[in-house]
């Protein structure tokens, strides 16, 4: 639908913004998984503007016991993190991740898209199949585009589920990302080495792919 028709239709049909806000509220409350703006628009009556309603709703829940949070391109309601102590009953014991899995996850998150060889280069040891499988199974990582280098190796990127779990809006919000980048620690070579262009032909495309 083009912007024009959406506006045109909204003149006739779209419910008032307050109603749209209620609808977004109901849908987000009902869903355990984040809901995309497109999905919201599809479920709401014709002419609704879910993105605008979300903005209103987010403000309304500012400081409340539950929060309207953005997860990638989707939205979800989550309890405020300072109230986690009330939820002892709800804590689901997740499988304890091994140190290898945690490090591999962090490397994927900070270096994505990243190949298995690059992860091994950073950790200095082979990445076991089980570690990658576990992260894939948890839906915290997924396959990204193939690297356009010999052998066309697959890359790994983090998922919306990862962002949701760690309370991040986008992968750019990873803690300490800026510092790591400016320290040159997300490159494959030390900055002091006289490399003409660290982003050049070392096979690493832009740090983050478009979602």
């Amino acid at each position: 639908m083009t912007k024009e028709t959406s506006e045109e239709q909204s003149l006739f049909a779209a419910p008032p913004m307050g109603e749209q806000e209620r609808m977004v509220e109901a849908v987000l409350f009902a869903s355990a998984a984040p809901v995309s703006v497109a999905d919201l628009n599809a479920r709401m009556p014709h002419g609704c503007d879910a993105a605008a309603a979300l903005e209103h709703l987010r403000k309304r829940y500012d400081g409340r016991g539950v929060q309207v949070t953005k997860v990638g391109e989707a939205w979800a309601i989550r309890t405020a993190s300072d109230l986690g102590f009330l939820m002892q009953k709800e804590v689901v014991e997740t499988r304890k991740l091994s140190r290898a899995a945690i490090e591999t996850l962090a490397i994927i998150a900070y270096h994505q898209p990243v190949t298995r060889a690059e992860i091994e280069e950073i950790r200095g040891v082979a990445v076991s199949r089980g570690t990658v499988d576990q992260l894939l199974e948890m839906e915290w990582i997924r396959f990204g585009r193939r690297r356009m280098t010999p052998g066309r190796p697959v890359t790994f990127v983090v998922t919306g589920g990862f962002l949701d779990h760690f309370g991040l809006e986008t992968a750019r919000d990873l803690p300490g990302l800026k510092e790591l980048r400016s320290a040159g620690l997300l490159e494959s070579r030390p900055p002091s080495e006289a490399m003409p262009d660290p982003h050049g032909d070392d096979g690493q495309p832009e740090l983050f792919e478009d979602p």
């Binding site: 409350f29 009902a30 869903s31 355990a32 998984a33 479920r43 929060q67 979800a76 309601i77 989550r78 309890t79 405020a80 993190s81 986690g84 939820m87 709800e90 804590v91 689901v92 997740t94 140190r99 290898a100 945690i102 490090e103 996850l105 962090a106 490397i107 998150a109 900070y110 950073i122 950790r123 200095g124 040891v125 949701d164 779990h165 760690f166 309370g167 991040l168 990873l174 803690p175 300490g176 790591l180 320290a183 620690l185 070579r189 030390p190 002091s192 080495e193």
Partner: protein, 264 residues
């Protein structure tokens, strides 16, 4: 113990030997040589950027030798790293050979320092990541999610054409019968031919073919049209048989017919 080993051991400082001994107990706890190097580097208590790779190499080699001394099996990659560090150590200690190709000892050392710093940075990042407000620990999802129900709704539709066709079908069903030509107002060529064969013998003179129309068919326009057509067609048939001649003096003038004289 051989002399060679003894020489090497004396080259290692007491401090390095203590470090190696402390680590040796934990050899299974390391995730490979890089992890071990990172642990060793902590004994230097300096920023990883200013670490002495030479010291680190010495400590690592001491560790490997100690392990050999204690007959502890080390994985191959630990030994590969030992070989590489021994090479690096010699590069760092000897004056650079201008004929030597490839990176200098300093460059190799810088890269190793970078690798260690990067691994440490990733470990710190992993720890910070795990300390985020996590779902299911600090933040919680909806406890009673509602399922989105899929409702299949069938919308029936019809067009005006459907409606009219349906009605026509109904209203004409009674009159419907198998196709049969209605002969009531039709005079066939066969009938005309039969009629004319009987009359042709008398046609010695030119006569308008209209004269051959059957009786009573000239009044009704439909019957007249049918009879005229059939009679004309029958006349042509008779011409073809060589029985009659046809003539028409002018356009739209009456068509005349007479018996063809038998020449034989």
């Amino acid at each position: 113990m051989s002399d060679a080993t003894g020489d090497l051991l004396t080259a290692i400082s007491v401090e390095d030997r203590l470090v190696a001994e402390a680590l040796i107990v934990d050899v299974d706890g390391f995730e490979g040589p890089l992890d071990l190097l990172l642990s060793l580097s902590r004994s230097q208590k300096v920023d990883l950027r200013t670490i002495s790779i030479l010291t680190l190499a010495r400590q690592y080699l001491a560790f490997v030798n100690k392990a050999k001394e204690l007959r502890i099996e080390l994985a191959a990659d630990y030994l590969v790293m030992a070989t590489w560090l021994a090479f690096l150590k010699s590069r760092l200690l000897l004056p650079p050979d201008p004929t030597e190709e490839g990176p200098s000892g300093e460059e190799l050392a810088a890269h190793l320092a970078f690798q260690l710093e990067r691994l440490q940075a990733m470990r710190d990042a992993a720890a910070r990541l795990m300390a985020q407000d996590r779902l299911g620990r600090d933040r919680f999802v909806r406890g009673i999610p509602e399922q989105v129900e899929r409702v299949r709704r069938t919308r029936y539709t019809a067009t005006l054409m459907d409606l009219m066709q349906g009605y026509s079908r109904l209203r004409t069903r009674d009159e419907f019968r198998p196709y049969a030509f209605d002969r009531e107002s039709v005079f066939t060529m066969e009938q005309a031919l039969e009629r004319m064969r009987g009359l042709i013998g008398y046609a010695g003179q030119w006569t308008e073919i209209e004269a051959y129309l059957p009786e009573g068919w000239g009044d009704d326009a439909v019957r007249w049209r049918s009879a005229t057509a059939a009679t004309f067609a029958a006349s042509l048939e008779l011409v073809k048989e060589g029985k009659v001649e046809l003539r028409q003096s002018d356009m739209f003038a009456p068509i005349e017919l007479r018996r063809k004289e038998d020449r034989s």
